[in-house]
Amino acid sequence: MNSIFNTVGTISLITGIFALLLTIANRTIGNYGKVDITINKDKIYTVDGGDTLLSSLIENKVFIPSACGGKGSCGYCKVKIIEGGGPVLPTELGYLTDSDIKENIRLSCQCKVKENIKIEIPEEFLDVKEYLSSVEFIKDLTPSIKHLKLKLSSDEEINFKPGQYVQLKAPKYKGNNEEVFRAYSIVSSPYDKKHIELAIGYVPEGICTTYVHNFLKVKDKAVFNGPYGDFYYHDNQREMIFVAVGTGMAPIVSILHHLRENNISRKATFYFGARNVEDLFFLDEMKSFEENLYDFKFIPCLSRANEEDGWNGEKGRVTNVLEKYLDNIDNIEAYLCGSPVMIDSVVKILKDKGLPEELIYYDKFE
């Protein structure tokens, strides 16, 4: 009996002393009071000092991309700090380039908020949210591509730039026991803030595409987050060249909606590659864009057109057609979207013709 009391007593006493010491220390030494985080000069959040910047931001529903969850091992949560934050920590060095350090870009999961701090983050991070939506319709665009329209819950709106993407959550279903997020570009107009539309191609054994193609039905709930991405419409007076294959058409359609709704007078040509007539979609939309837009031309081309379809449009790979039509690269900019192979070869063609790399925007679907 005695030994039980002895053991429990001793351990409790030792633990108790340490706990007391730590509590006192936390109240006195570890207390930094309230501090302000100022984001992009105008948004001010007051938080309890002493936490890391990343967790203080998440507490206030500002989501900085982070794959490792704040352990300092992925290097994604970079944030530009204008004031406060202290010197660069050794734990960050492995993830910061020399130019990062010069511009005072830091890992927000390592740097602590101990004084008032001013930071700058891309405006779109403030728009990234999780949305609960319901399926308004789901229909076939081609035998392997589904057109999905999602309606946001009544009190929510989404703001995105034409060309950006969202991540759709595939829940657990029969044959799949993990939740995954997969990225899909938004097809619909950025001015319809209550809905988003996606074009989702079937990938054999793809977790999310199987979910969409085989399980998702009208009125089902669907969760997505976003918007993300640095592939989006750039406002200037250059002529626009769009090149896409397959579901790569999605972000281009969103950009075309944007052009139409703002009456933007820019010349635009859209080269779209597919295998055969069956793989073409959104043809009516393209026709109406051709009629309504200032100067827009849709050039579909088929790499394996069947004789019996009577196709009299362009034949061959989209790259060949592009080379055939594109002669003047002065004053153009290019938006490419689709498979990495197509994008790499188009980028090469455009660069060979003398188009500077910074005027080529692309989104590789992998």
């Binding site: 001793t10 730590l22 220390a25």
Partner: protein, 195 residues
Amino acid sequence: MEINPIVILFASIFTNNIILTNFLGMCSFIAVSNEIKTSLGLGQAVTFVLTFTTVINYFIYNEVLVRLNLEYLRFIVFIITIAAFVQLVEMIVERYLPSLYYALGIFLPLITVNCAILGVSLFMVIRQYNLIQSVLFGLGSGLGWTLAIVAMAGIRKKLKNANVPKGLEGAGITIIVTGLMSLAFIGFSGIVQIQ
């Protein structure tokens, strides 16, 4: 047993290096050894914590646990001591010694559960070291750990330019290199007796 404390100090740095002969403290060794400066910071923190926790644990063990015949509680008591000590030191350093904090303070949470630190306290008991021996054993083990991780960081810096098979990149090649390093160190382990 009467071993010269200075011998223990050097033995724990070279011939009985805690990481290369006992494989203790591997996780932070592998995770942090990609940058020499960072490794040095972590090494300093480990050395500091090792030295002090060994002393504290020495007193708690001999003055409390041995007197009450509760030696078998040493595992849990040592762990509590180490965790509390590390946290306390971190708070103090963070608040009052900012420059020291930026050099090594941020590593402190990483080493709360470093097995090398618990290992040294337990070896101290098993090998029946006295106070002076324990202090130098703690200090030496810390320096040895630092030596190993800094050497590793240097090797990994060179490895960045090497043609490492894809499957072995990162932790894989690090573990293999650690094995080779430890072969070299173990070669000297018979030179001195430390227990």
